[in-house]
C-alpha cells in the first residue's frame, strides 16, 4: 500500500485518505492487543485491527477477501473467542508480574529489532514495484471472486481438501480436550438433586445479592445478613471486597 502511495500510480485520493486514516488505527489495535491486561480487551483490540485490514483489502480491489476478513475473522472467530473467554471467566489468580529478569526489556529490544529490520527491509526492497496484472487476472475468469474460486478448486484443490482434514483434526481435538463421557448413573436425577439441595448443611435459598442492607449499592460491598455480619457469599470471588467508610459501616436504623 505504502509502496503504491510512494509511486503515486493508480492511487486515488480516496484510497490514500482511507489508508492514512485506518493504518494508525490498525497499528494501535495491534499494540493494544499486546499491551491490554484483560483478555477481553485484547480480543476487542484485535477486532479493531482486523476490521481495518478488511477495509484495506476492499480498497485494494479484493472485495471477497475483505468480506471474508470481516465475516469470518471479525464476525465468527473473534466472537467465538470472546464467548469462550466469558464462559471460562478470568481467574483472579492470573499474575501479570514478570518474574524473569530482563525478559521484558529483551523482548522489546529483540522484537523491535526484528520488526524494524523487516519493516524497513520490506519498504526498501519493494520500493518501485509496479502494480501490475490485477486487471488481467480479474478478466481471466470474469471477476475477482470468480478468479479466486477458479484457483481454489483447480490449482489449489489438494490444499483446499486438506484444509478440511485440518478442520477434522481441530474438531476431534476440541472434543477430546473438553468432552467428558458421563457413565450412566453418574448424573444425579432430579429427586436426588432436590434431596441434596435440602440436605442439612446446604443453603437452599438463593445467595444474597451484594449491596443489600447496606448503605452502598456497589457490587463490591458484601450483603449484610440479618444478624448484621457481612456475607462473603454475596460477591464474586474475583472482586476485591470494598473497604467501607465508618459511615457506611455504621449500623442503620433498620436493625431496631
Amino acid at each position: 500500500m505504502s509502496v503504491l502511495l510512494a509511486q503515486g500510480v493508480e492511487v486515488t485520493a480516496g484510497e490514500a485518505w482511507t489508508f492514512w486514516l485506518l493504518a494508525p488505527i490498525a497499528v494501535i489495535g495491534a499494540l493494544g492487543m499486546v499491551l491490554a491486561r484483560n483478555a477481553v480487551h485484547s480480543a476487542l483490540w484485535l477486532v479493531l485491527t482486523m476490521l481495518a485490514l478488511g477495509v484495506f483489502y476492499v480498497v485494494q480491489s479484493a472485495p471477497f477477501l475483505g468480506l471474508v476478513q470481516v465475516v469470518v475473522y471479525t464476525g465468527a472467530i473473534m466472537m467465538l473467542f470472546l464467548f469462550v473467554l466469558m464462559l471460562v471467566g478470568r481467574d483472579a489468580a492470573d499474575s501479570l508480574i514478570e518474574t524473569l529478569r530482563g525478559q521484558r526489556a529483551a523482548a522489546v529490544l529483540v522484537g523491535g529489532g526484528l520488526a524494524a529490520l523487516l519493516a524497513t527491509g520490506t519498504y526498501r526492497w519493494l520500493e518501485g514495484t509496479p502494480a501490475a496484472g490485477l486487471a488481467e487476472a480479474n478478466a481471466e475468469h470474469g471477476g475477482n471472486t470468480e478468479g479466486l474460486a477458479n484457483l481454489l478448486f483447480s490449482r489449489w484443490v489438494l490444499g483446499f481438501e486438506l484444509t478440511g482434514a485440518l478442520l477434522i483434526v481441530a474438531a476431534l481435538g476440541a472434543l477430546m480436550l473438553t468432552h467428558i463421557v458421563r457413565e450412566p448413573g453418574e448424573r444425579l436425577s432430579q429427586p436426588e438433586q432436590m434431596r441434596a439441595r435440602f440436605a442439612p448443611g446446604n443453603y437452599p435459598a438463593p445467595k444474597p445479592g451484594p449491596g443489600v442492607f447496606a448503605t452502598s449499592s456497589s457490587n463490591t460491598t458484601p450483603a449484610k445478613l440479618p444478624d448484621g455480619t457481612a456475607s462473603p457469599r454475596s460477591i464474586s470471588p474475583i472482586l476485591p471486597i470494598r473497604e467501607l467508610t465508618a459511615a457506611e459501616a455504621a449500623d442503620k436504623e433498620t436493625e431496631r
Binding site: 526492497w125 519493494l126 475468469h141 478448486f153 483447480s154 489449489w156 486438506l162 483434526v169 476431534l172 467428558i180
Partner: protein, 510 residues
C-alpha cells in the same frame, strides 16, 4: 459467470500413499463415532497398521516415479519416495508402541483427557482403557508428514506443516501419568509451534513477493529472471528455513524439544523423534535443494553455523542430563545437527547421506523409547538415570538392546549410527566443508559420554532397592524393539543396500 473451469490433472496413483493415509484417518474418526467402545482399540490399531502398510506398499510400487501432480502441489520423486518409505516404516513401529496395552494397564494414554487432573474422576480412570482417538490423530499426522516431504509449493507445504503439527500437539497432552507435565508440554509445543509457523508464513509471503509464485521450481527460476530486490528472497529464505528448523529442533529453535519430549507420552515422543525428524528434513532438503540451490554459496555458511551450534548445544547439554527422555531429546537435537551436515554437503551425496542418517537415527531412537516405556515402577515409567543402575543384571536382554541402541547413537562401528555418521561426514569432506566435520567429530566425542554413561550405569552398577523393574515387553512392544535393534545392527553390518537405495533416490525433481 464463466464456464471455462477445468480440474487439474491429478495422478491418483502418484498420490495414493497420501490418499490411503488420509482416508484411513477419516475412517478412524468414523470408527470413534460408531464402533462400540470395547472394540475400538482393536479396530483402530488394525486399521491404522493396514493403512500404513498399504501406503508403504504404494510407495514401494511407485519406486522410480518422477512426476509433479495435483495442479503442481505434489512432487513425487526419489527423495520424496525414499523418505516417505522411511517415514511409514517408522510409523508402523510407532503405531505398535502406541497400541501397546500390556505394559501398562490401559496403555500409555489417558482415557478421558478432559477430566480435571487430580479430581476424583481422574483417580477413577487411572486404569481405564486409553483414548483411541490417538490412532486417527497419528494417521492424520503421518499423512501430513508424507505430504510435507512431497509438497512442491510453499503453500501446500504450510498446510502440511499444520496438518502434521496439530495432531502432534494434541497427542502430547494425552499421557496417562504425570498429566500436568503432559498438558504443559502440549501447550508449550502448540504455542511455540504456532509462533514458528508464523515466521514460516511470513517467509512464504516474501518469497511470493520476489518470485510471484510460491512454487519451488518457479522460485528457482525467478532467481535468474526476477526484477525484484534479491534481499527479499534472502529474507524469505531465512524465515522459511527458520520455520523448518524449528520442526527439526535445531538450535536456537530447539528449546521446546526437551520439555515436550519429556512430557509427551513415550510412544508419541518416539513418533515425534523418528517421524517428525524425517518429515522436517525432507521439507528442508526440498526447499534448499529445489528452490534455493542457486543461493547455496550464500546460505551454506549461515546454516553451517546453525549446524555447528546445534551439534554443540545438543551434545554439551546432554552431558548434564539426568532424565533419560531429556537426554534423548538433547541427543535428537545433536542428531539434527549431524543431519544438517549432510544437508549442507549440497549435492547428491549430501542428500543421500542425510537421508541414510535419518533412517539409521529413526530406528535407533524408536528402539530407545521402546525400552524406556518398559522400565517402570509403581508410579509409571522411571526415566531418572539413577533408577537404571544395575538394570543390566536384572534384564540382560532388554538392557542389551538398549546398549546396542546407545552404542549406535554414539556411533560405534558395526552399528547403523557409525555408518550414518561416516556417510554425512565423508559427504561434507567431499565438498570441502571440513569445519563442519571437525565440529561434528568434536560433538560426537562429547555426546558419546552421556550415552556410554547410561551403558556403564546399567551394566557395571549393582542393582539396588531403587533400581526400577523392567516389564516384560508385550507382543507389540517386543516387535517394535526387535525391528529397532535388527535395523540398527543391520544398517551397521550390511549398510550397502540402503546406502545404494538412498544414493539412487537422491535426485530431486524440479
Amino acid at each position: 459467470m464463466t464456464t471455462d473451469f477445468q480440474l487439474p490433472a491429478i495422478d491418483y496413483q502418484a498420490i495414493s500413499p497420501l490418499l490411503i493415509l488420509f482416508g484411513v484417518a477419516c475412517l478412524g474418526v468414523l470408527v470413534e463415532a460408531f464402533v462400540p467402545r470395547p472394540a475400538r482399540r482393536r479396530v483402530q490399531l488394525g486399521m491404522a497398521l493396514v493403512g500404513v502398510l498399504a501406503a508403504l506398499g504404494a510407495v514401494v510400487l511407485l519406486a522410480g516415479t518422477n512426476v509433479v501432480t495435483a495442479g503442481g502441489s505434489v512432487t513425487v520423486d526419489g527423495p520424496a519416495l525414499f523418505m516417505q518409505g522411511a517415514l511409514l516404516a517408522f510409523g508402523v513401529v510407532a503405531l505398535l508402541l502406541i497400541g501397546e496395552r500390556r505394559v501398562e494397564p490401559g496403555g500409555a494414554f489417558v482415557a478421558q483427557p478432559a477430566i480435571t487432573v487430580g479430581s476424583e474422576a481422574d483417580q477413577r480412570q487411572a486404569s481405564a482403557p486409553g483414548a483411541t482417538e490417538v490412532f486417527p490423530l497419528a494417521m492424520f499426522s503421518l499423512g501430513g508428514m508424507a505430504l510435507f516431504i512431497a509438497a512442491s509449493d510453499l503453500l501446500t507445504m504450510f498446510i502440511a506443516l499444520e496438518l502434521l503439527s496439530l495432531p502432534l500437539y494434541l497427542m502430547c497432552a494425552l499421557a496417562r501419568r504425570h498429566r500436568l507435565i503432559s498438558q504443559e508440554a502440549a501447550v508449550k509445543y502448540f504455542l511455540l509451534g504456532a509462533y514458528a509457523s508464523g515466521f514460516f508464513l511470513f517467509g512464504v509471503v516474501l518469497a511470493y513477493g520476489y518470485a510471484g509464485s510460491v512454487d519451488l521450481a518457479a522460485i528457482h527460476a525467478a532467481v535468474d529472471t526476477s526484477q525484484m530486490n534479491p534481499a527479499l528472497l534472502y529474507a524469505a529464505l531465512a524465515l522459511i528455513v527458520m520455520g523448518l528448523l524449528f520442526k527439526t529442533a535445531a538450535a536456537p529453535f530447539h528449546v521446546w524439544a526437551p520439555d515436550v519430549y519429556q512430557g509427551a507420552p513415550t510412544p508419541i515422543t518416539a513418533f515425534m523423534a523418528a517421524c517428525t525428524k524425517v518429515a522436517a528434513f525432507g521439507a528442508l532438503l526440498r526447499v534448499t535443494y529445489v528452490a534455493f540451490e542457486r543461493l547455496a554459496w550464500d546460505w551454506l555458511p549461515v546454516i553451517g553455523v546453525i549446524a555447528v551450534l546445534t551439534m554443540l548445544v545438543g551434545a554439551v547439554l546432554a552431558v548434564t542430563q539426568t532424565d533419560l527422555k531429556r537426554l534423548l531429546a538433547y541427543s535428537s537435537i545433536a542428531n539434527a545437527g549431524f543431519v544438517l551436515v549432510g544437508v549442507l554437503a549440497v549435492g547428491r551425496t549430501g542428500a543421500s547421506s542425510a537421508m541414510f542418517y535419518l533412517v539409521a537415527y529413526g530406528f535407533a531412537v524408536l528402539g530407545a523409547f521402546a525400552v524406556i516405556s518398559l522400565v517402570r515402577d509403581r508410579e509409571g515409567e522411571t526415566t531418572h538415570l539413577s533408577r537404571w543402575a544395575g538394570l543390566g543384571r536384572r534384564s540382560p536382554l532388554v538392557a542389551g538392546v538398549f546398549t546396542v541402541v546407545m552404542l549406535a547413537l554414539a556411533g560405534i562401528p558395526l552399528t547403523g549410527g557409525f555408518t550414518a555418521k561416516f556417510a554425512v561426514f565423508s559427504a561434507a569432506l567431499e565438498v570441502g566443508e571440513g569445519w563442519l566435520v571437525i565440529a561434528g567429530v568434536v560433538s560426537s566425542v562429547i555426546i558419546a559420554f552421556p550415552y556410554l554413561r547410561v551403558v556403564v550405569m546399567m551394566w557395571l552398577s549393582e542393582p539396588s532397592e531403587s533400581t526400577a523393574t523392567m516389564v516384560a515387553p508385550g507382543l507389540l512392544t517386543g516387535t517394535a524393539l526387535g525391528i529397532g535393534a535388527l535395523a540398527v545392527v543391520g544398517l551397521g553390518v550390511v549398510p550397502g543396500p540402503v546406502l545404494d537405495l538412498a544414493h539412487d533416490a537422491a535426485l530431486f525433481l524440479r
